[in-house]
Structure formats: structure tokens, C-alpha cells
Amino acid sequence: MDIQFTPEDIAFQKEVRAFLSENVTDEIRRGYTGGEVDPDIMVKWQKILHKKGWVAPNWPAEIGGTGWTITQKYIFENECADSGAPSVIPFGLKMVAPVIYTFGSDEQKKRFLPDILESNVWWCQGYSEPGAGSDLAALQTKAELDGDHYVVNGQKIWTTYAQDADWIFCLVRTSSEGKRQAGISFLLIDMKTPGVEVRKIDTIDNQHTLNEVFFDNVRVPVENRIGEENKGWTYAKVLLTHERTAIAGVAQSKKGLQKLKEFTAQEKVGAGVLADDPLLAAKIAKVEIDLMALEYTELRAIASVSAGGAPGPESSILKIRGTEIQQAVSELTIEACGHYAHILNDGEAIGNDMSWVASAKYLYGRASTIYGGSNEVQKNIIAKMVLGL
């Protein structure tokens, strides 16, 4: 058992810090502050990361990854969060890319991966449908073969940043025979194809993050299918378990908590500061402790996976506790902001600086326990797969 950084790790940490302090400007920090992203800034930032070779730490080193140890990845993620750098948009780099480099043809790898690595092309994810949320296998969007094209009809929903995306990766139904999971294929669709329509969903956070995507006789070349027909569920599942490192959002929550603590230590109340309130201080401490626990739960999961083992039972709780902690941080932040969390200031700070970002984060953050398989579904899975109930 050993959790100490080696001298190499410490040198690496220094290098990361130097790089970040030089490159993470206030402008870059504005790339993502809560709900909406600024795509231009994000492209700029991801290109900076790419130039340094650090945009895809989890990819195999030979195709653009970093070859880092888990400790290095851990250090990198923490330093990034600490610097206020926005997380990279995951849909290309973290979600579709692993599917492509694991299951795609050489042709597909050559065609799609470089643009993802260079942030030239933006992706979004077409999984959920109105009737297929937590029960994803119920999806209905149809792709029917017509010559060397699929003709896609149907609707996706909750599509994050579809409005900025060039491509969408979709699960579509190519067969209605057998088990529901066995008739699903994995398609890559150019958003500019005729028949693709994006409609904004008005969400409670008053930002534009989510969309519906409609497919009306959209013709998709067969060569855009990943792997075999009707095997899409297998690829998607691998993807779902592929990216475990970021799911808990530990580094982001740590940063959020740090900001909150700084705010309460400065914000004057009467003759003292907000941090003097013992009940607020206790609530913040509780969340911090929870987060300290989750950080190690995540490290235990990463360590057991990277040692070649299967993820241990501890990994099952990352999504649940991670999102609950994110929500708790955002709830405490709006509580700390007082009245000013409730004013829609249209860009101008009123009362205090934290508040507008705080309420957008709080409101958008309610979705975190719903998406990616709701926390209820996660509990069902743990009950069945881990506890054998």
C-alpha cells in the first residue's frame, strides 16, 4: 500500500502546473462556467491541450494518448480542475473516440480520429429517446437498409450541445427480432445531412444545453456504421464502462468546494463573515468529508482497473455519490449566495460575484442524478450485480 507521489510524479505535477498557469487564462476559464459552453473558447483550449499532446490522456499512446500512469492522470485532472480550466467536451474525445479506436475499421479510424484529436469536429450523443430513458433498450429510432445507405427515422432527446455539433453518434434500431438489445446498431451521422433537425429544449436553468434531434428519412452511408449490424449495444456498453475516471467529477467538486469555502471566508455578514456560521460550516465540512471519501473510492477503482483487475464493487457507487456530492456543493453554494442566487442578472453581477453561475450550476445540476442512467437505475444495478438481490 502506497499513496505517496514519487519524485517523478512531483516533477510531472510541476510541469503540469507550469503549463496550466501559462495557458489557463481568464478567457479560457469562461469556456465553461456551469451550464452552457462557449464553443469557440473550448476549441481554442482543446487545441492548446492538443499541441501539448495532453488532450486525450486515455487514448492509447500510439494514436495520440499520453501513456501516463494512473497517478499522472490523477495529478493532471486535479491540477486542471484547480486551475479553473474547463473540462474537455467529452462526446468526441472521451465517448465516441474509444468506440472508434476499439471497434471501428481502419478506414473509420483514419477518417474520424484525427479531427477529434485536433478538435476540428464536434460530436454529440444520440442515445436517449422520449420513450427510452433509463430503459435505453426500448429505443425506437429506426435505420432501414436501402442500398448502401441506412434510412434513419425517429427522434433522440436530451442531446447535450447538439446545437454546436457537426456529428452525432447514435444507437438505432436495425432489427426488431429477438432480444431488444440484439437489434441495435451504432451509427455515425453527419448533422448536416438533410432531414436532421435540432430543436432546443427549454430547461429550468435558462441556458441552452439540451436538444431534441429529429431524423426524417436521413440517409446515412453504411460505411458510417461501427462494427457489425445489430451489435451496437455491445459497443455502447463497453463505452459506458470505458470512462470511469471522470464520472464522479471529484476534481470539479473539489474546486467548487474550494471556491465556496473562499467565498464564505470573505463574505461579510454583520460583524463577521459567513464562514462563522457553525451550521453552514458543518454542512460544508460534511460534503468535504464525503468528497474525500469519494476521491479514495475512485482511486481504489482506478487502481484495481489499472492493475488489470476488474473494477471492484466500490466503483459502482461513483456515479451515485459523485452526482449527489455535485448537487450538494451546488446547493450549499446557492445557500451561501443568499438572495443573489435568485436574480437572473443577464450577465451583470448583482450582490455578489458567485451567484449567477451558482444558480445555473445548481439548476442544470439537477440533471446529473437523472442522466447517464438515473441514480435509481444505478441502485437497481448494484442491488442485482453487487449484492446479488
Partner: protein, 378 residues
């Protein structure tokens, strides 16, 4: 001991409930909320016609002498409809101040204006450094021969931009945390030196940031006794808490009932999700939270009406519990609605935002928990 409404109270309840039912669909509410004023003038006239604006005023003042029970009845229904009209701001807050310490002229002119709907009056009590302390007043008013000259800033003035008049808490003596030295002045919203910046609030309502730069008002602007406004402010704050909590309890009822209804419709894995026991138990918790808050509401309202000695404790308990349980119920409602709960298409998110706002107004849950603990120490 009885919890039954009188005949008049039942009529009032039915009248408001019917209006909410028929005229206040969520779509209509959203339309009003997004209009320029942020509410419907037509509705406001209806409120006046139906006699709702006069409820809390005495007969001499032109009202019907309604007490906290009547106010609870109305606000609970308003909470079900997420009403955006400035009832709370104009009638409960400003009306409350005028009814308690207004002189004959002020009552004759301003209360009459409130009751007939012709005057909307906002209460500018909040300042950005004050957090929840109503006596933390830094806005200064200097006295001279003609009256007062006001300088300072007020924040989150509810419905401040649509108000004809502002009642402003100012400091005429003492330091900014003193209880003594606070004075109320009635200021026309269009007086020289008054700058009103309209803001929207997350709950779809309106507020304003108001600056006072050498605003001169006459001696007749004085409302109540100079330097002694703290106690009337406290009293109106108690009534404000009762009203807001009644509203939140109405919203909580709507939230748990809507959630129950939604789960009966929504299917996953081939069955209605209402059949999942884990969700059932959580909806029972939502139901329980509502019933318990309703009990605290009745307790506080009845003790306020009776002038009991433990009224302060009851009000602090109410505000704490409604803050905590209201948010818990709203969070669960969003969660159980799933993705749909995140959209403006469903009302559930708007209830969440309103409940959050109510938690913050006049002191949040922890503020009142600590107040309660002090009041209740052995």
C-alpha cells in the same frame, strides 16, 4: 379545538381555488410571467374586483378584517398556481406596514389605492450587505427643514419596477446594525434621484435594484415613528413568513400530487413507474413532508391569530421546516419526473425555483433554525 373553516373562509378558498383552476394554467402563468410587467394587469383587476386586495385590511380601512387564516387560505391557493401578481409585495408587505403605522392620510390614500388596484407599492427593505438581517440598514436619510434626503442602495426590491411608490427603510440615526434609528419613508418611484433597475428572478417573478441619490421627500413621507421602525418591520416580517410559507405549502401539495400523477402515466421497462416500491416510499415521504409543513403552518397561523406567547418560536419552526422540506420535495419531484422535470414544459422546475426563493426571503432555513434554538433553549 377545531380546524374547520368558517363559511366565509370556505367561500374565499373556493373563490381563489376556482380562479387558479380556471384562469391560471401553467401556460397562462408563464405567459404572464414573460410579459413586460411580469404579471397580468387583467388578473390584478380581477383580484381587486373579487375583493382579494382588501382582505387583510380592517373595515375602517376599507377591508374585510381578514386575519392570518384568510391570508393563509389565499396564499396556499396562490402557491398551487405559482401566482406572479404582486399580491405579496403590495398587499402583504406594503399593505401590512401601512395598516399598522400609516397615519389617517396615508391610509385613506394609499390603502384605498391598494384595494382598488390603482396603486402598487413595493417595500424596499433589503440591502446587499444585510443578508437576512432586516435591521442591517445602511441607506441614509438626512433630515432637513422640508423633510428627508435619501442616499443609498436597496436590493431585490420585490416588484420594485412596477410599483408606483416605494416604502423604503432608511437609517436616520445609529450604526448600520442598530435596531434603533430605522425609519420608513414613502417615496414615489419616479422621484428625482431614484434609479430603478428592473431584474427578473429565477422563479419567473420580478424585482429591482434601486438607487437613491439625494432623493428629497417631504416630512409627510414619514411612515410611522422616526427611528422606531424596527418593530413594525419585524411584525410585517412575521406576517410575510406566514404568507410565504402558506404559498410554499400550496406548492408542495401540487408537487407531490403532480409527481404521483406523473408516475402513473410514465412507463419504463414496460410498466408504469408508480409501481416501483422505492419510488412509492419516496412519494410517501413527500406526502408526509407536506402534511408536516401544513401542520406547522396551522400551528403558526393560529398562534399568531391568538397572540400566543410562543408565536415567535412557531414562526421560526415553520420557516425552517418549509425551507428544508420544500426543497426536499421539489428536488424529489424533479428527480422522479426524470428528464421532463428539467424542462420548462413541465411546471415542476418552476415550483422548485419558487420554493428556493421562498426559502431565501426573510431568512433561510438555517437562519430560522438558529433563531428557534435560541428561543427554545431550556
Amino acid at each position: 379545538m377545531n380546524f374547520d373553516f368558517s363559511e366565509e373562509q370556505t367561500l374565499l378558498k373556493d373563490s381563489v381555488a376556482k380562479f387558479i383552476q380556471n384562469e391560471y394554467s401553467y401556460e397562462a402563468r408563464q405567459k404572464n410571467s414573460q410579459s413586460d410587467a411580469g404579471y397580468s394587469e387583467k388578473n390584478w383587476s380581477t383580484f381587486a374586483e373579487l375583493g382579494w386586495l382588501c382582505v387583510p385590511f380592517t373595515e375602517e380601512q376599507g377591508g374585510i378584517g381578514g386575519g392570518p387564516v384568510e391570508m393563509m387560505i389565499m396564499m396556499e391557493e396562490f402557491g398551487k398556481g405559482l401566482v406572479v401578481e404582486p399580491y405579496f409585495s403590495s398587499v402583504v408587505l406594503s399593505g401590512g406596514l401601512l395598516a399598522k403605522v400609516g397615519n389617517e392620510n396615508q391610509q385613506a390614500e394609499l390603502i384605498t389605492g391598494i384595494i382598488d388596484g390603482s396603486k402598487k407599492i413595493a417595500f424596499a427593505y433589503n440591502e446587499s450587505q444585510a443578508r437576512f438581517d432586516l435591521h442591517n440598514v445602511a441607506t441614509q436619510a438626512e433630515k432637513n427643514d422640508q423633510g428627508y434626503v435619501i442616499n443609498g442602495n436597496k436590493s431585490l426590491v420585490l416588484h420594485g419596477a412596477s410599483a408606483d411608490l416605494l416604502i423604503v427603510s432608511v437609517r436616520t440615526s445609529g450604526e448600520s446594525l442598530d435596531r434603533d434609528g430605522i425609519t420608513l419613508l414613502v417615496v414615489p418611484a419616479n422621484a428625482e434621484g431614484v434609479t430603478v433597475k428592473a431584474t427578473r428572478t429565477l422563479d419567473g417573478q420580478r424585482a429591482a435594484e434601486v438607487q437613491f441619490a439625494n432623493v428629497a421627500v417631504g416630512s409627510d413621507a414619514l411612515l410611522g415613528e422616526e427611528g422606531k421602525a424596527a418593530s413594525v418591520i419585524d411584525q410585517v416580517a412575521d406576517e410575510a413568513i406566514l404568507a410565504l410559507c402558506a404559498e410554499a405549502v400550496g406548492s408542495m401539495e401540487k408537487l407531490y400530487k403532480d409527481t404521483v400523477a406523473y408516475t402513473k402515466e410514465r412507463k419504463q421497462f414496460g410498466v408504469a413507474i408508480s409501481g416501483f416500491q422505492a419510488l412509492q416510499h419516496r412519494m410517501v415521504d413527500m406526502f408526509t413532508a407536506h402534511e408536516q409543513c401544513k401542520s406547522l403552518l396551522l400551528r403558526a397561523v393560529l398562534s399568531y391569530a391568538a397572540g400566543d406567547s410562543d408565536v415567535a418560536k412557531n414562526i421560526a419552526a415553520l420557516k425552517y421546516q418549509v425551507g428544508v422540506s420544500g426543497q426536499a420535495v421539489a428536488h424529489e419531484a424533479v428527480q422522479i419526473h426524470g428528464g421532463m422535470g428539467m424542462t420548462d414544459e413541465m411546471s415542476v422546475g418552476m415550483y422548485l425555483k419558487r420554493i428556493n426563493m421562498i426559502n431565501t426571503l426573510f431568512g433561510n432555513a438555517d437562519y430560522h433554525l438558529q433563531r428557534f434554538a435560541e428561543l427554545s433553549a431550556a
